[in-house]
């Protein structure tokens, strides 16, 4: 449709110009992004809702059906090339419990793997905000993103993947939500808010800010695990020391429970022995001693 429209307008404008100049459609756009949104097999309903939410928020995304393999992830690069995407957002679910998010820039770009926790989707009834489907968000980054190299890299990835490029296909004109990225305790916290304006500030542009925020969702906490130099391949260039795999956490819990159980068993045995050994001394004045004969 847009191609036909463009063709018609070009005809009406002028016949000499075959290519539209940069000035006619606005300043030259550098930010052109397309995100390939894909998940692995074994995904849970909650994760599926998250992916659907992200697909709704990002008009420059393309949702593809599940990827079969969990080992040969290099196939994602081929998929991205096929669909002409220069970003990949891959959600990997393990054991139907743990969700990992991979952000990557094919074909050569770095890859960041995150562990997703504290996931709250948009459908939860506590999130009362709403926004246009495909409106461009304002992205807000914590000051901590400037301090370290890896955080700068993450910030760039977030801007290109979560930020809607101008003039994206299905984007809407007005700005009505803001996404915040903060770093706390070595983890990235993502929140999404709707911008509510009072009527005065709408009419009067120069008025002082009278905005309020209402949370739309979804809510995420990302723990960076690893950064690879290539797209789903290549050497490791960063590894997070504080990251503990959820399997290890579960194993430790089980070991604690086992130690507890063993302790209880040992105590029971000790009690038994104690009862057997600790016998009262024979009392010379007891009845059965005196009246034995």
């Amino acid at each position: 449709m847009s191609a036909i429209y463009r063709a018609l307008t070009q005809d009406t404008n002028s016949k000499g110009i075959s290519k539209p100049q940069a000035g006619s459609f606005g300043p030259k756009r550098v930010n052109k992004q397309r995100v390939l949104l894909i998940s692995s097999r074994g995904i849970v309903f909650r994760h599926r809702h998250l992916i659907a939410d992200i697909n709704a928020l990002l008009p420059h995304s393309r949702k593809e059906p599940k990827l079969d393999t969990k080992k040969s992830l290099y196939e994602l690069n081929e998929l991205a090339e096929m669909y002409n995407c220069n970003n990949i957002m891959y959600f990997e679910c393990r054991k139907h419990k743990d969700l990992y998010m991979w952000l990557s820039k094919p074909p050569n770009g770095p890859t960041i793997k995150f562990f997703v926790q504290n996931l709250h989707t948009m459908d939860e009834l506590d999130f009362t905000g709403n926004c246009l489907k495909g409106s461009r968000p304002i992205l807000s980054f914590d000051k901590t993103f400037e301090t370290e190299e890896k955080y700068q890299l993450m910030k760039e990835m977030f801007i290109q993947q979560f930020g809607v490029p101008p003039r994206a296909r299905r984007s809407k004109p007005f700005v009505d939500h803001v996404m915040t990225f903060s770093i706390l305790d070595g983890k990235v916290w993502i929140r999404n808010y709707q911008i509510n304006e009072s009527k005065e500030s709408q009419e009067n542009e120069q008025s002082d800010e009278d905005l309020t925020l209402v949370e739309i969702g979804p809510r995420l906490v990302l723990t960076p695990i690893i950064i690879l130099e290539g797209s789903f391949g290549g050497p490791k260039i960063f590894e997070n020391k504080q990251y503990i795999s959820p399997n290890v956490v579960r194993a430790q819990l089980k070991q604690q429970a086992a130690a507890h159980a063993r302790g209880r068993q040992q105590d029971a045995q000790d009690k038994k022995l104690k009862k057997r050994e600790e016998v009262l001394k024979a009392d010379p004045l007891a009845n059965d001693f005196l009246f034995k004969e």
């Binding site: 550098v30 770009g109 304002i138 901590t144 930020g163 809407k172 915040t180 709408q202």
Partner: protein, 309 residues
């Protein structure tokens, strides 16, 4: 399979396997490097221990070690030297074993350079990203306190929204959505309706609870008042009966005088209206009694019932 097994048991080869070759090569390399490294390590590890004692941050030691490892990482990633091969001082404490991790800042910088877009050279409209002027981590005292944390994020978002609005309006980018602009929203209308119903239900619940509480308080208060009036009435009854008794006694003893009697009645009638009515009745009765001394008018059963107390 069985044939191969029997071969191994009979003949033991003395040629080294590939794994053993590798290990040998490593040890051979390390034998020369180790002596240099161990001396450096001994010196630096001693320094590290002192720093450890002074500082609280355990990451310092790890960063120091990771910087050293940077050159090595490019060739082989896990190049652990087993501690049995390294010569340590006898009186040096055992260095806390740090997990060998990678932090190749140079490569990260390079990767960043390869993907970054120079946002400063383009108008704000291109990325619409704002850097908050504070570190959220410093604002929050307790990270496990949900309200405090969410408040900090809210403040960050609000600040960004205000700043973004200013910048976008300066660029003449449409910011506010007009009231008549209808388009597909991220949450469907049915969902918003459900939300609205939930909020309304919450509000009505709250009101109902408050109302019930108020009623309960009033009821208690009302009960108290009722109790008090009952008690007051009983007390009055008791008082009047006592007075009657005393009067009868006095009358029997022929001490009563009309004047005396009147004063008491008048005093009582100065108070409440109902009481005065009762008193007047009683007064009349007693007066009639005093007139014909012979005949004693026996009061009715309701009165006699209360005497028995």
């Amino acid at each position: 399979m069985t044939e191969i097994m029997s071969k191994d048991s009979e003949y033991k080869s003395h040629t080294l396997s590939k794994k053993e070759h590798r290990l040998l090569r490593k040890l051979g390399k390390k034998a020369t490097e180790d002596k240099k490294e161990v001396k450096e390590d001994k010196g630096t590890k001693g320094m590290d221990l002192n720093i450890l004692d002074e500082s609280d941050d355990e990451n310092e030691v790890e960063d120091f070690e990771s910087e050293k490892k940077e050159e090595e990482e490019e060739k082989e990633e896990t190049d652990d030297v087993p501690y049995s091969d390294v010569e340590l001082d006898d009186d040096a404490d055992v260095v806390p074993h740090t997990k060998l991790t990678v932090n190749n800042n140079a490569a990260i910088k390079q990767a960043y350079a390869s993907i970054s877009i120079p946002w400063e050279k383009h108008p704000f409209d291109e990325s619409q990203s704002i850097m908050y002027h504070e570190k959220v981590e410093l604002e929050i005292k307790d990270i496990y306190d949900d309200t405090e944390r969410e408040l900090a994020f809210f403040k960050q978002g609000l600040d960004a929204a205000n700043e973004g609005r200013k910048k976008l309006l300066a660029l003449k980018v449409p910011f506010s959505r007009p009231a008549d602009y209808f388009a597909e929203m991220v949450k469907s209308d049915e969902h918003m309706e459900k939300l609205r119903l939930k909020l309304v239900a919450e509000a009505t619940d709250k009101k109902a609870k408050e109302e019930a509480k108020r009623q309960r308080e009033l009821k208690k208060f009302g009960k108290q008042v009722q109790h008090e009036t009952l008690q007051q009435r009983q007390k009055d009854k008791h008082d009047t009966l006592d007075k009657i008794k005393s009067l009868r006694k006095k009358r029997q003893n022929n001490e009563i005088d009309n004047k005396e009697f009147d004063v008491g009645v008048e005093e009582a009638s100065a108070g409440k209206e109902e009481v005065s009515r009762k008193k007047r009745r009683i007064h009349n009765q007693v007066m009639s009694k005093s007139k014909d001394k012979g005949k004693q008018q026996r009061p009715g059963k309701s009165k006699r019932r209360h005497w028995k107390k």
